[in-house]
């Protein structure tokens, strides 16, 4: 197949804020979709089909996809074909891309949302675990990651200072990004005084949960040709999943390595180092950055080329997180990012999900 045929034509995001009490989650979706279509200069009438990204636990509703159809434009005109992925938004975007490459549609609107302020994420992610054998142990998003953090820190000989550097870098980069929710650097005092949440994870190590929605418009080469002023091309994309966290060595992330390998092959690249100019990684916790970079073989990237947007550390919304990374990468490739980066031609954007990031999706994007 020829992977160069799909482009990111438009990107849009809801107004960044940790809490959006004035808007329901469908309204956040509408906000992101409106911004995305405006960015693309495309009307909803021209959109070929829609893929939404919902999670019933996050929304506290069964069939939560049903609640955002209207807001995403599913009823426009004679109605549009629509589907829903549950998981990270990068996976929804992947399915959206396949619906173009299948010849089914010329374009796909992809939108994800999360309203963390309305739920208890520890309770929501406790439901990731087996109801009989695991839930009563108190495993959740944070406590499970704490186990992995220990193994990664021991295995890779990382100390708290190494994690401090990750947090400091992400927060410094995010301070200059108007689409980041947390736009403030972090001081050494703040890091040293950060309260312990689930040892060894301190509050500062945890990407803060934010309300938000993000949308992408993907289009075929033909669709992009007539419309997109600055298309960003998908060079490769792939995803993979690991065994359950209780059944694997948590000091590595083979699913990320496999996803990156498949995306690299699709892009027709010999290797990633030297080709990838910058990365936008989805990190729920600071310890994940050195692990992700190692699995990608990109440990030697310069400081300014690792999460130049600030990454998930400056506000993370489940499902939205990976789309946010694609959006940040696309903006930079288009030259829209406020702080310029020289030679930004090929980006790696990443999404992750599940306990200790059991699932990974990698996108290679070029201008």
């Amino acid at each position: 197949m020829s992977p160069g045929r799909v482009a990111v034509i438009g990107v849009g995001r809801s107004r960044p804020a940790f809490r959006r009490p004035e808007s329901g989650f469908a309204e956040l979706v509408h906000e992101a979709v409106t911004a995305c279509l405006e960015d693309a200069g495309v009307s909803i009438a021209e959109v070929g089909n829609i893929v939404t990204c919902s999670n019933d636990f996050m929304d506290g509703r069964t069939i939560s996809s049903m609640a955002v159809g209207d807001a995403a434009g599913a009823a426009a005109g004679e109605g549009k074909n629509i589907s829903t992925v549950e998981g990270d938004g990068t996976l929804a975007a992947y399915y959206g891309m396949s619906r173009i490459l299948s010849g089914g549609y010329a374009s796909t609107l992809v939108v994800a949302h999360a309203k963390h302020s309305e739920g208890d994420y520890r309770l929501i992610t406790n439901a990731w675990f087996d109801p009989i054998y695991e839930r009563a142990l108190g495993l959740d998003w944070m406590s499970a990651a704490a186990l992995q953090a220990r193994l990664v820190m021991d295995g890779r000989r990382l100390c708290v200072g190494d994690l401090d550097r990750v947090v400091e870098r992400n927060r410094r980069h995010g301070a200059g990004n108007p689409e980041a929710t947390l736009r403030a650097g972090v001081s050494p005092e703040e890091l040293s005084g950060s309260p312990m949440m689930a040892p060894p994870l301190r509050a500062a190590d945890i990407s803060p949960l934010a309300d938000g929605a993000a949308a992408l418009l993907l289009g075929s080469e033909e669709f992009a040709g007539g419309r997109a002023k600055r298309p960003v091309w998908v060079a490769g994309a792939a995803f993979s999943a690991d065994p359950r966290m209780t059944d694997r060595d948590l000091s590595g992330a083979p699913a990320l390595r496999r996803a990156a390998e498949s995306a690299r092959r699709m892009a027709g690249l010999e290797k990633l180092p030297g080709e990838v100019d910058f990365v936008e990684l989805d990190e729920s916790f600071s310890y994940q950055q050195p692990l992700w970079l190692a699995e990608l073989g990109l440990e030697t990237l310069d400081d300014e080329r690792i999460n130049p947007s600030g990454g998930s550390a400056c506000g993370r919304s489940e499902g939205v997180a990976g789309l946010d990374r694609i959006i940040a990468a696309a903006r930079r490739l288009r030259g829209d990012a406020p702080v310029p980066l020289k030679n930004a031609r090929l980006a790696l954007a990443h999404g992750s999900g599940g306990p200790c990031a059991q699932s990974h999706c990698v996108w290679l994007l070029g201008n």
Partner: protein, 385 residues
């Protein structure tokens, strides 16, 4: 489509009201192993896994990762899709696009539900907007009762008409070894069964079932090597026009009408009653077997019952509907739409056993779900042009 694609293998579990002998993961594994055996493939041959159910029935978040020991997805691309009642048909549409795109050659698609572990009505009630809709529409049955009442009042259709459709599906199920309920009933028995939500009675309504279905999709690079007669996908369309029940028009089922018109337009179908050999419809209650025929263009408004009374939709009729017994016989919700796809595939492959429609060449399946979401697929034993 970039690559033509087909269904090459189908596996179903033993469906029952309570499969207390297995966990959810084991139930999934049962369908997966049967589908792989059916296609004579192993897990290693599969390029990726797509799975779906409805989260709140089993209360498992990120089910694709929780069930990875049974779903075959370890070390592979593993994806979850969920759209409510349509989940199974949504999965079939995903199998179509993901393989037609060339991104995957052979894909394992799984729908499942272990309804015995859930409060089905309790879970479905939370589908509706907490402010505007939830106090009015509890669960799935209440909304369908409104639809049935509106249809009856508009066209003078009777409960007896609906009962005849229930008799058909329940009779067909007798010949399907996979069906959950395999007992033929009479019109009188349906009419005498207790009301659940007026005008819907117990025998008008689908059961809740524990079960899973796995279907293997392969694109044209592999399909004919795996199955001598693959079930080629000719069209996949859908509509979901409403987020609030209060916004609905209850007749016609506009989402199905538009999805069908789009598919017919693509395929040049002018007279669907003549141009299909069978249909497997996601009709969760008897009245849908009347009015939704009209949305599919099989009958004029208010005329659906006549087709059913005349035996047109019975086995042996001009257009058999639900040779498997349909949703009235078997309803593991997240699998239900995918079972329709699997049944259509078996029919056009000529492998449907006692429920085979002789000489079936072209089939249509639908999915139905939350706030009148409709999915539709068309299958043929001929490779699309």
């Amino acid at each position: 489509m970039a690559k033509r694609t087909a269904i090459v293998g189908v596996g179903q579990t033993e469906h029952a009201g309570n499969r207390y002998d297995v966990t959810g993961v084991e139930l999934i594994s049962e369908a997966v192993r049967r589908a792989l055996a059916d296609a004579e493939l192993t897990r290693e041959d599969i390029d990726g896994v797509v799975i779906g159910n409805m989260d709140h029935f089993e209360g498992i978040n990120a089910v694709e990762l929780w069930s990875i020991d049974g779903n075959g997805g370890i070390d592979k691309p593993t994806l979850k899709l969920t759209t409510g009642g349509t989940t199974g048909s949504t999965l079939a549409i995903a199998g179509t696009h993901l393989t037609a795109s060339g991104l995957f050659e052979k894909l394992l698609v799984i729908g499942w539900e272990k309804n015995s572990e859930s409060d089905t009505t309790g879970a479905i009630t939370t589908a509706f907007d907490p402010i505007w809709d939830r106090m009015v529409f509890a669960g799935a049955v209440a909304g369908l009762a409104v639809e049935a009442s509106a249809y009856m009042s508009r066209f003078g259709v009777t409960e007896k008409d609906a009962a005849r459709a229930a008799v058909r599906d329940r009779r067909h199920a007798v010949d399907n070894p996979h069906a959950h309920l395999r007992e033929a009933v009479t019109v009188e028995q349906v009419l005498r069964s207790p009301y659940i939500s007026d005008p819907i009675k117990l025998l008008d309504m689908c059961p809740r079932t524990d079960g899973a279905c796995a279907v293997i999709f392969a694109n044209e690079d592999a399909a004919e090597k795996i199955a001598p007669r693959p079930a080629w996908i000719h069209a996949a369309t859908n509509r979901h026009l409403h987020s609030y029940l209060g916004d609905l028009e209850w007749y016609p089922l506009r989402s199905l009408e538009l999805a069908a018109q789009e598919a017919y337009r693509k395929l040049g179908v002018r007279e669907p009653l003549k141009e299909f050999d069978l249909m497997e419809l996601y009709t969760p209650y008897s009245f849908a077997n009347l009015s939704w025929l009209e949305a599919l263009g099989l009958a004029a408004p208010g005329e659906g019952a006549r087709l059913v009374w005349d035996g047109v939709t019975d086995m042996g009729g001009k257009l058999p509907i639900n040779p498997s017994g349909g949703v009235l016989a078997t309803n593991p919700i997240g699998a239900t739409g995918l079972i329709r796809a699997g049944e259509c595939a078996l029919q056009v492959m000529g492998r449907a056993g006692k429920r085979q429609v002789p000489g079936a060449r072209r089939a249509l399946s639908t999915g139905f779900g939350g706030c009148l979401w409709s999915d539709l697929l068309v299958y043929g034993n001929d490779k699309p042009g």
